[in-house]
Symmetry: C2
Subunit: 369 residues, 2 copies
């Protein structure tokens, strides 16, 4: 291994996150010590390559990663701080303020500087060690969450770990982290579930009119209820604050709709309330960074008609490669079993003209995005 991560590493809890951390360390040439409350899970984790069972001869861990649900993480952290009085101890739960509060309650004050929070952001919400993957955190943000008394070497250790497993380290305090994930993850999750929940009412014929917009807005609604009750409960304050604002705005929208509902004389400002909703949404969505962390302005989307036959999309992408343009993102859109799909190809905005011209010359139909 490397000089970036203190050695040895002990992983406590070998579910999706702990298991994936172990696999990621294994890819980097390091075998972690692993333990789990369930002996069966531990054995399976070892078999899957998450790490090895610590033996009595093994040295004490220098870095302990507690990969347990938020509601039990703090107590496990406190115990680890006590058992290994020289180790840096981090939890990797997806909310941070409640865990920090719990650690402050359960740990001895003298142990607190060795505690640090972390949140390696996973791309998907599945669970269990069988879903673990060594590349789960690759290219993802790894939030390092020191508190006021955290030792500088703990910050260095966690940043080193993030880098080692291919993540991008980002430092925030617990409150900033929890607000951030409320905005970018937890509130969108609630809203997606709310939209999907309305789909229990409509007829099948009505749902037959569904297009890409509905599919996009509800994709993440197909998620694990147990996990999300845990996350939303542990981040209730930050999520509640953002959703409170949503509720106010929704009330304005409902009031406007009520006034416009068949009335020849809607209240002044009704249309303005609806316009503000959409305009603020325009402004908000444009703040989301693009793939490479730049604003979305850096990319252009070229939309190309693709016959719905095997090999056509491959041919298109081969030709894009031949033209020498790198694909930043791709989305395929097609519906109702028709003979044609639309490939939305995001590229560097400076290459748009070249790509459009070259594809057209090669006989592809490029349409307005």
């Amino acid at each position: 291994m490397t000089t970036l991560v203190p050695f040895p590493v002990r992983i406590i809890g070998t579910g999706l996150i702990g298991g994936s951390l172990g696999m990621a360390l294994a890819r980097a040439g390091e075998s972690a010590q692993v333990e789990d409350v369930s002996p069966g899970t531990t054995a399976l984790a070892v078999e899957l390559g998450v790490g090895t069972l610590p033996g009595p001869e093994d040295p004490d861990p220098a870095l302990v990663l507690v990969a347990a649900p938020p509601d039990v993480a703090a107590q496990i952290v406190a115990r680890a701080l006590r058992v290994w009085p020289r180790a840096i101890v981090a939890d990797v739960a997806s909310v941070k303020a409640t865990v920090l509060e719990g650690v402050r309650t359960h740990a001895r004050p003298a142990d607190l500087p060795r505690y640090i929070g972390a949140h390696p952001m996973a791309g998907r919400e599945v669970s269990g060690v069988v879903a673990a993957r060594g590349d789960l955190f690759q290219g993802r943000p790894f939030v390092v969450v020191p508190h006021a008394d955290t030792l500088p070497e703990a910050v260095t250790a966690l940043k080193g770990l993030a880098t080692e497993i291919g993540s991008v380290p980002v430092t925030m305090d617990a409150a900033a982290h929890d607000t951030a994930v409320a905005h970018v993850s937890h509130v969108p999750q609630v809203m997606s579930s709310l939209v999907a929940g309305t789909l229990l009412e409509p007829t099948e014929a009505a749902l037959g009119l569904a297009g890409q917009g509905l599919r996009d807005t509800t994709r993440i609604a197909d998620s694990d209820p147990r996990l999300w009750v845990e996350i939303l409960g542990a981040n209730a304050a930050a999520v509640g604050d953002v959703l409170g604002g949503v509720q106010e705005r929704l009330s304005d929208v409902l009031e406007a709709l009520d006034s416009l509902r068949g009335s020849p004389d809607p209240a002044i400002g009704s249309r303005r309330a609806l316009a503000n909703l959409v305009v603020d949404g325009n402004r908000g969505v444009r703040r989301i960074p693009g793939k490479h962390g730049g604003g979305t302005d850096a990319f252009a989307t070229v939309v190309v008609l693709v016959p719905d036959r095997p090999g056509e999309l491959a041919r298109l992408l081969t030709e894009i490669g031949q033209i020498g343009v790198n694909l930043e993102d791709l989305r395929l859109e097609h519906e109702l079993g028709r003979a044609v799909g639309l490939a939305h190809i995001a590229i560097d905005a400076t290459r748009e003209d070249l790509l459009t011209r070259s594809l057209t010359e090669r006989g592809w139909t490029v349409v307005e995005a």
Copy 2:
């Protein structure tokens, strides 16, 4: 042309929808007569191939398509019914009950049987004739909306038109249509705007944690405010009804979060309210039909690691073609400029094992979906 559509066709209003209808008819070998309140727009439409200017010698239209905003469509329909006493007259606005009500108010009762509503569903929300495309409706639902007194030949004419331009005709009454589009389009639009509107607050660092979930839920929030004020206003009743249910559920969620907010003793049922939210979302999202109109169960998703280099995705898709598996849908996921992306490949569920095995043999990394 064909026997499916009464001839000649007159298109009144040559924006995105009217223009695209004209272009679609032109592709089918028919030149529509076109007019627009703006002579400049009409001239541009003719130049772009939407149709031809009607001359004094031209025969009266047999089918009139009114492609005007909902608030003016009814009066234009009433006028057309009066001017051409043998023509079938349809409007193609995206909401139907308010237009039907307006036509009943403005038209002579004897003319009403020749009126029929229609909604060719467009894939994108841009506007203007310059964005018009002959394939805009291809493979999309074309909702035919007769009222109680509509002539059978008007229904036949509109279904013929839908088929002729490559759409899939679906018949509904005005109320059913408006409820359906409230569910599959208008409410998701409002919810996406609400999520995106919350993104004005967070710091840039917080937004740097954004993943695919946030991008998917907010994609349609980058939409035209003027158009959406019009649509939401015209469908205020149906949208308000669905959003009223959303508001009630959001209140329950907020109450649960408030109770869980740092309380050692949250109200009984708080966690259940959150679980119900997610579970109902699970059930709702699974009701959305797949690409070919079947349940989503018919498809399996295989996720493959793709190096972020030109040509790699093309190579993958070429090999999928060689394996003989047809791609039903494709989504590419990658973030933060890392060296690897994930291709989510939807295929016929019966081909999943074959594809996974064949790709693995060829050296691709297939990961858990």
